[in-house]
Symmetry: C2
Subunit: 242 residues, 2 copies
DNA sequence: CGTGATTTTGAAAAACATCAAAGAGCGTGG
DNA sequence: CCACGCTCTTTGATGTTTTTCAAAATCACG
């Protein structure tokens, strides 16, 4: 399920941005390496701290009793994730490394102090949280009310926007470390149905035939249309300003 | 679609809690009355401010191009909602009054100052945001991976936990201001399918036959089982501590 | 070149949506 | 007080989407 061909620090590398730079500079926390598939935090456990991703992708997921997984969100390089829930420090979801990853775990008290002392970081964090909320809301809309094609098209758009600085351009060969199984867990579909849907998109020449985890977009406009989005609006909504 | 029989301030009244009391005392903002169905904020519009609900329920929703609605969350009395998205102040979803409601709109600068000056409020807000995240994550899991019965059972549990202080007890006749259409928009189902599913739950004697919007729970344990939750765990996860 | 993971394909079943119409509850105006 | 109109719920028949199960094909990698 993992993608060992993409070590943290190569393809899935930190985009430099304000928070990332500040944190990297400010923190004396030693980054920790995580192998692909490694579980960093289990739902219900006491939260270790705030996770700051330096390289690689993390997954936030929840499971039904019969073992089906729903991915709540990915955590990309430069992003932070706070697993806390309503009461003190119970994690509300599982956190695991999707690829090989490098992570700094910031203790809660350090984090709290940092935010108190640095209103600029507080502001950046608030914006990011707002962006995170928007992303989940968009996904919820599609999982709840749209058919497979729209869900997948949307997921591709979102992940491309988040993982590249450049945004979406025709013919981009962009790489996400997802198997079809994982993509299905993300958009609420079976891997089988993901496969069929992707093939349909390829036959319509919306997507090209990248190998494995490489997605090639042939017709951005059509893709955005299927995803029911306006690319610029979506970017403004779900990508926090640099 | 609205429930005019429940004026703000009667059944759907503010539960007193720390934030609510503080805000009510601190703010000189005049509460504003909203009629059921009234739109308070449109997606894409510049956000007016933070919404603090004193009475009645609000709905946060998003729409597909063909007009289907997905409810992202409800905002109950005593809760606050910030419609901001990633960039400056673009609302990322529609906000409307579900019932008649009383709302205070707190300007962003006032809100920001308040949070800066009152670390206790900041802490409460952070907890609430964490709880909100947990709630959406739970719903996402069920909408993405569970069948209709579990989705609806879960929604009932969540709304009952949130709207009553007492929690869930057998034989409770508890009232949510939702039509089956609205419940469907919440859990990603058609109103027709909601109807059939509710009837199945009633035939299994999990629910009783309350009129209209009154839900009577006959068998809490079985309901929790169908919803795939542990009630106490769920409460700790999605209800911010008083 | 073989082995395990991933993707593809097909056939059948289940879940859910859609369409259409009838029934129940409730407020309003006559 | 009743009849009317309205919205909401229920029900049936039918169609589509998605899942499930099972097996073959492809790919990555040692």
């Amino acid at each position: 399920m993992a993608n060992d061909a993409n070590p943290a620090g190569s393809s899935f590398r930190t985009q430099s941005d304000a928070l990332a730079e500040d944190l990297a500079a400010l923190l004396e926390v030693t980054p920790r390496a995580a192998a692909a598939e490694e579980v960093l935090q289990m739902e219900g456990d006491t939260a270790t701290g705030i996770f700051f991703v330096r390289g690689g992708w993390l997954v936030v997921s929840k499971y039904t009793e019969d073992g089906k997984r729903q991915i709540i969100d990915f955590v990309l390089p430069g992003e932070v994730f706070d697993p806390g829930s309503a009461t003190n420090r119970q994690a509300s979801a599982d956190l695991a490394a999707l690829t090989e990853a490098t992570v700094s775990v910031i203790p809660h008290d350090v984090w709290a102090r940092l935010l108190r002392e640095r209103p600029d970081l507080r502001k950046i964090l608030d914006r990011r949280n707002a962006a995170g909320f928007s992303r989940i809301a968009e996904r919820l809309l599609r999982i709840g009310k749209s058919h497979a094609e729209a869900r997948i098209a949307y997921a591709i758009c979102e992940l491309c926007l988040r993982s590249t600085r450049s945004g979406l351009v025709d013919g981009v060969d962009f790489s996400v470390p997802l198997t079809q199984q994982v993509l299905g867990d993300f958009v609420g579909l079976t891997s089988v149905h993901v496969s069929r849907t992707l093939r349909r998109l390829k036959r319509q020449a919306v997507l090209g035939a990248g190998d494995q985890m490489n997605i090639v977009i042939h017709d951005v406009d059509r893709l955005a249309e299927i995803a029911e989005i306006d690319l610029d609006e979506l970017r403004a909504e779900i990508i926090p300003p640099a």
